[in-house]
């Protein structure tokens, strides 16, 4: 009789457990969604207003790539001018490499084959960066000043930042036994000394500007307003991926200039936040439920087996 009742009891217990787990999970999700409803994203955008930022105006860019040379020199990336200028023009972020932190992309304008348009690829220095929120050990870090920087002493080389970055920016030394994650750090050291980033200082056509994000955002909107036929009416980076510290203006739709389109207007951290917020509910809920289930099931099995007590000392 004991085997039969135990089985029936097991089934009932199993069903109860599944029900409980389901209820617990849905409650946890509901609570977690409440918890993340107020994300603090607005506060981050406010903070970013006073941070270092950059503005790239594609309509002023002449494609001379002086910024690439300056970046290469200042960051001691080791490429020769020949290597920089003789390379074939690229169209998208694939041109970034451990020794290439920035790249001017070249695009034929279909409507007017005699002209070219340029884009600039480098780290966007997101307000709430996907790479920073994904890094398990805080090796990538959004500084109070604005730039996103990498700390090699902590980095595990897990490359989760590369999976997370929607702009395909972080690079990895695939052929090194001590690989680094490399990307633009907005010349954090130079700016700390009060100087502009190397690429901005080198730009002969004033296509690049440095300043606070609030100033540059206002400037971008002023340019669109004063010359509405010159620009597409969109500041790339104002809202993309929750907003970035690197803003772009252009005369052509941005996807024609090699920029990733269809990006969400909220930060990528929001995608993992609800799941991460369930952790304490899962821990607490399971801690209560498993103990209780075990107590009840064990007790009932003992009673069913003839009142045999297992708990005597």
């Amino acid at each position: 009789m004991s085997a039969l009742s135990r089985r029936r009891f097991l089934e009932r217990g199993g069903r109860a457990a599944v029900g409980l787990a389901g209820a617990g999970a849905s409650a946890a999700v509901a609570l977690a969604e409440d918890a993340v409803a107020d994300t603090g994203a607005d506060r981050l955008v406010e903070q970013a207003a006073a941070q270092w930022a950059m503005l790239f105006d594609s309509t002023l860019c002449v494609g001379c790539r002086a910024c690439e040379l300056a970046c290469n020199t200042d960051n001691e990336l080791g490429r020769t001018p020949d290597e920089i200028f003789e390379g074939r023009p690229a169209e998208d972020a694939r041109a970034l490499a451990p020794s290439v932190f920035t790249y001017v992309t070249f695009h034929q304008v279909e409507a007017d084959p005699s002209t070219a348009a340029f884009g600039k690829v480098q780290c966007m220095h997101c307000i709430e960066p996907a790479c920073v929120s994904s890094c398990p050990v805080l090796a990538l870090h959004k500084t109070a000043e604005g730039p996103v920087v990498w700390d090699g002493t902590r980095c595990l080389g897990c490359r989760y930042c590369m999976m997370a970055c929607p702009f395909l920016v972080p690079r990895f030394d695939w052929d090194s036994r001590n690989p680094r994650i490399t990307k633009c750090d907005m010349c954090f050291d130079l700016q700390g000394q009060g100087k502009p980033p190397a690429c901005v200082a080198a730009c002969p056509s004033k296509a690049l500007r440095a300043g606070t994000r609030a100033d540059l955002l206002a400037e971008a909107h002023r340019r669109i307003e004063t010359r509405p036929r010159r620009y597409v009416h969109h500041v790339y980076g104002e809202h993309e991926a929750g907003g970035t510290n690197f803003l772009h203006l252009a005369a052509r739709p941005f996807d024609e200039l090699g920029y990733r389109r269809n990006l969400p207007m909220r930060s990528y951290r929001e995608y993992t936040k609800p799941a991460m917020a369930t952790i304490p509910y899962v821990l607490g809920g399971l801690g209560v439920a498993l103990g209780a289930l075990r107590w009840i099931i064990n007790r009932r099995a003992d009673v069913a087996a003839g009142g045999h007590e297992e708990s005597q000392p």
Partner: protein
Amino acid sequence: MSRPPTQGLRLTPGLAILLVLAVAGLGLIAYRFAFGLGAVTNLSDGYPWGFWIGMDILVGIALAGGGFVLAGLVHIFGGHRFHALTRPAILTAFLGYLLFIFALMVDLGRPWNIWWALISWNHVSPMFEVAWCVMFYTFVLFLELLPAVLERLQWERAHQLWRRVAPLLVIAALTVFTFAMTDSLGWTVAVAAILAAWETLMRTGVMARDRQMPILLIMAGIMLSTLHQSSLGTLFLITDKLGPLWYTPMLPLLFFLSAVMVAPAMVIFEGLVSARVLHRRPELPLLVPLGRALPFLLAGYLIVRVGDLLFRGVVLETMRQTLATWWWWLEIALVLVALAIFASPDLVRRGRGLLLGATATVLALITHRTGVAIVGLDVPEYGRYVPAWPEVVITAGIVALGLLAFRLAVAFLPIYEPELEPGTAGRAPRAVHDHLTATPVRVG
């Protein structure tokens, strides 16, 4: 009772093949550490994760899930008759996790920095959660496996000490874990208090203790595994490299459900295959009832998997002619095959049908996880990723190492219970436990 509980060891052709694979894998691993990841993989800046993350980590962790599911079934849900299956499952899980950590060291670019995960906390990173779950669950598995070692060495006093200390270690570990994950003192105190309350109830005799395994150890295993299995899915929520058949906000739930689904299937698969290899009689009286859970688990998974596509309105994606789509159909077909087999009692009653169903279930899980980590990835700028042969050989070598370690462990540790006489399935384990716990244990 005709055989000793350990299994003798002889060099067979099978073992020789495993040795060769392990040596080849280790050689390539040495090459990788000398010349970088690019020398042995097809990984790129567009596809920074590939075969290793898919197979070694996503699949490997899921297949090691038998440990927490069986331990829970036996010690929490009262399925004592399945006790004979728990030790092999826990050993598999422990070895699986050790191998997984080893494989991770191969995949990490700078593995010597791994200790930073202990002190440099990013509470919002799913990868941080994964790292901590791996560490803490491996520790819990080690504690769960310790009795087998202590029995073998016949260290009675150490065994008694383990009974008393293991729950305290678990409370300490989960308290630290909760704080690291939540950064909240309130939650940390709450979780510590809950665990301490159960332990107090058991020490004061209000609640019955488990005679073989501290309940807190089992609970910690389930809590960490639940988080761990689902957080592997959470990892992919932040990437936009996945196609619509594979990316869903439900990934954490799907990963958890599929891990629970594959646990009994893996125990069945292992039980049948290891019985054949070790020339033991398979524990059919236990494996067949275990299979009865599978129709429900498979159906539950299938409902969430397909329902999610319907709910998100991307069901027409299944009509495309792409590899990712075919891969999706393969996964669904395998789930359906497994469902059909386990829903037919006549097929399952025989070892062969049982093996077929379990294999289909395991393959379905492999298809889903590799779909998320490899096939479903699509970065238009970078073409397609196809694993390089050394990636496959290294994974095969690591699996071979694991199988060799398992073989060694069952040769020296009492992992399998003495073979059951037909018809005594429910009682034999009890008798063994009573024997093991013949000396009364005074606690608290």
